[in-house]
Amino acid sequence: VTLAEAPLVLILIGLAAYAVLGGADFGAAFWQFGARGERGAALREHAYRAMGPVWEANHVWLVFVLVVCWTAYPQAFASIFSTLSVPLFIAAIGIILRGTAYAVHAGTAREIERRAIDGVFSISSLLTPFALGTAVGAIASGRVPIGNAAGDPLTSWLNPTSLLVGTLAVATGAYVAAVYLAGDAARAGLDDLAAAFRIRALGAGVVTGAIAFAGLAVVAYDADRLGDNLLAWPAVAAIAASAAAGLATLELVRRSRFEAARYGASAAVAAVVAGWALAQRPELLPGLTVEEAAAGRPVLIATIAGVALGAVILIPSLALLFGLVLHGRFDEQAAARSSDRATFAPRRPRLSLLPMAAVAGAVGLPLTLVFDGGPFLAFGVLALLTFVALASVALGATAAESDGRRKRL
């Protein structure tokens, strides 16, 4: 991996994470789509409860992919987004619908409302993964030329390879979601839901695998270069790994070993992303190798350093969140264990911060007004912000604690 390729590796990691985690979110919506009746309501509710704490973080992977792409490979990013504006816009609309579904769900009270909302918003479970899949298919089959909207606005993404990858994306999401939701249900002791999602996971797994293998033939017919490369070393190793992980996962699901299946399903999806990248190497777009597309050296170094720095914060944070979720700390029953044993040492509000706030304000105001730059201005602005913070705490706390209460008693 050269310096020019390093950001691409980051993008692929992000893409794999989004395909697995974001895909699982859209897949959860896919299962909510058709569910009716009392059992359907339980199923839909379970999907919200399981995905609720993690879906936002899962969606950030997509943003991560976009920003690293436009920083490190700006011409490729611009070519992709201008040629594929239609499917990408459709994907964006689907994302709005999905986020709104979560927000609105917070306010729903009655089953009939929930069903109506899920009916509308579950459309996104088809739109977004399908549209993003067609975009991936367009890139993989070499239909995005360099330039501002230089490719065909329709056939670039309405072609056999794109349609295949789009369908595969929907199926994959549904499959991964079923595995995850089965695991979450089993952990929470919801055995009938676990059974329901187990069946769905098995069905979706078989269908996804079938589409993937039929897809190899489609790709060989439609994009022969990609097809050849997929079946040649080194991409074929990734494809084989994906197939093996997929089969192993099916067996794990059949035995209801959902926690292990979680990782198997994720690996199967990630391996497909890796296979695509290996098959397409070294070209990013036709006539544009990764080396040519890459931004200048200082930018690449800054991007990699920035991501490394971010990862130091991100990895423990993600571990915390998924640790809490996978240990069932956010499950319904966990509330009973509750926050308990809180020992309060009620204290009076500290000696008023107001005099300190006043000093900060008195220092900050003239400095900010007089200086046009430099350390004095910076100090003045900081002093003003300190004034707002301290005075807010002091006045806010005393105002909240004071009067009002006595009159009402």
Partner: protein, 470 residues
């Protein structure tokens, strides 16, 4: 030969009929997203403040408020996530030539922002789903990264906007950038700081007044219990302290604009000719030569922009007509922002004066009506402020380097996309209104603190309240 020319300049300006619609679409997306950003920045601090009061006093009312607000925070964050994602899509969908040419210069800002976004998304989930499941201390601590990420996220995004307004850190030749220094471009840019602080303070004003407006409305409707009172005074206090400070920060911002973007400053006022001792006109209309029907305040522009009543202020005539922004849009937006800013500061002054002198809230219903109005007005000021700076940047997308029409996509269908987005966002706003109404109507459950400690009636202001009753 044609192939060669295309290959040589794949992102040369294209003929796009709908540049204006593309700008409108981008502006709409910002206008929907930016009020949500305010809640992303300021609301976690409000919620944490309430939780801190609960932890300190054991009074369950604070816990109830914090818990209810955190649900609102989560719902608004969900909408913020998706509307923010749309903005990053639109950068590529609408402005590919801008991205192709300059993406590597400012991209680092967004790369760092992605991590703020991650931290926000992760800890907001831990915080909101962690109620009753984490220890009170761990729960409180889990909210702190959300508040910090709100600041770092806006810092990194605004570093990109500041760079667009005051670009540096690269060399441009034949449509390609070379010698890119991303850290200099983003964080070595002194134009960044007033933008960040102005927006950060605005976030507290908007979130504060909008939240206070809800409970001021309750007060007017006769719901004046302790719950409503606490939920009113905390955000109102923050907003009331931030609003006057914003005027000082705004003055600093205007001086920066005067120095670095004189044409934009001239558009604020509608100053056509360069002059010494330039005036400010309140209201009125710029007719292409001068401001008509305005109330002139002599020498004020020179005084405000350069702190010297005789200072020379550059007029619009300094640049060719096709390099001037649409003056009236900028001017009206600027005056709207400043006007509302002073109204908000006035409301704040009344509140702070009554509180500091009498240790109570104002009693006139007019005060509460004003607070109800201040909520939406603060949003109008926020959007007017962004119109001022972004329309004032026109016709440039990268000030002085790339014109907006050179940045636009060559793809067709912008009007279709725009119409679709309008419909989707209209539905989104209805959905948000519906959720907030639902969440507000949910029955109050003022639970006792887990330890069962009786609420402590304490506070520095307590003796005053008793005195007042006597």
């Amino acid at each position: 030969l044609i192939w060669f020319l295309l290959a040589a300049a794949p992102f040369a300006p294209v003929d796009q009929e709908y540049v204006f619609e593309a700008r409108q679409m981008q502006a709409l997306s910002f206008a929907v997203h930016i009020p949500l950003v305010c809640f992303g920045i300021a609301f976690p601090a409000f919620v944490l403040f309430m939780e801190a009061l609960w932890l300190r006093t054991g009074d369950p009312v604070y816990r109830t408020i914090a818990k209810r607000w955190s649900r609102v925070m989560l719902a608004l964050f969900a909408i913020g996530v998706v509307t923010g994602t749309i903005l990053s899509f639109e950068l590529g969908l609408l402005w590919p030539s801008f991205m192709a040419t300059f993406g590597e210069v400012f991209g680092l800002g967004f790369t760092l922002e992605a991590f703020s976004f991650f931290v926000e998304a992760i800890f907001i989930a831990v915080y909101v789903y962690g109620w009753d499941r984490l220890s009170p201390r761990a729960h409180f601590l889990s909210g702190i990264p959300v508040a910090i990420a709100g600041f770092t996220g806006s810092l990194t995004v605004i570093s990109v906007n500041a760079w667009m307004n005051h670009p540096s850190g690269f060399t441009l030749g034949e449509g390609r950038v070379t010698d890119v220094r991303p850290l200099d471009a983003l964080f070595g840019n002194h134009f960044l700081w007033h933008e960040v602080i102005h927006m950060y303070v605005a976030a507290y004003i908007v979130a504060g007044f909008l939240t206070a407006a809800v409970y001021a409305w309750d007060w007017l409707r006769g719901r004046r219990g302790r719950y409503e009172r606490v939920a009113l005074v905390v955000p109102l206090t923050v907003a009331a302290l931030a609003a006057p400070v914003q005027i000082v920060v705004g003055d600093w911002a205007a001086r920066e604009v005067a120095r670095e973007q004189p044409t934009k400053l001239a558009a604020f006022e509608g100053l056509h000719e360069t002059e010494k001792g330039a005036p400010v006109h309140l209201l009125g209309w710029y007719d292409g030569d001068e401001v008509r029907y305005g109330i002139p305040l002599p020498r004020l522009l020179s005084l405000l922009a350069f702190h010297d009543p005789k200072a020379r202020v550059a007029g619009l005539e300094e640049v060719p007509a096709d390099e001037r922004p649409p003056v009236n849009v900028v001017r009206v937006a600027f005056q709207t922002m400043v006007g509302i800013g002073f109204v908000l500061a006035g409301i704040s002054a009344v509140y702070l004066f009554v509180w500091l002198r009498r240790r109570r809230l104002p009693r006139s219903p007019w005060f509460y009506r004003a607070v109800v109005a201040a909520g939406p007005l603060s949003v109008v000021a926020l959007i007017a402020g962004w119109v001022t700076t972004e329309v004032g940047r026109q016709p440039w997308v990268v000030y002085g380097h790339m014109r907006t029409e050179a940045a636009v996509t060559g793809a067709s269908g912008i009007p279709v996309g725009y119409a679709t987005l309008v419909l989707v966002y209209a539905g989104l706003l209805l959905a948000v209104a519906w959720i907030l109404r639902r969440l507000a109507r949910a029955p109050l459950d003022v639970q006792p603190g887990p330890s069962g400690v009786a609420p402590l009636i304490a506070g520095a202001a307590r003796p005053n309240a008793e005195r007042e009753e006597r």
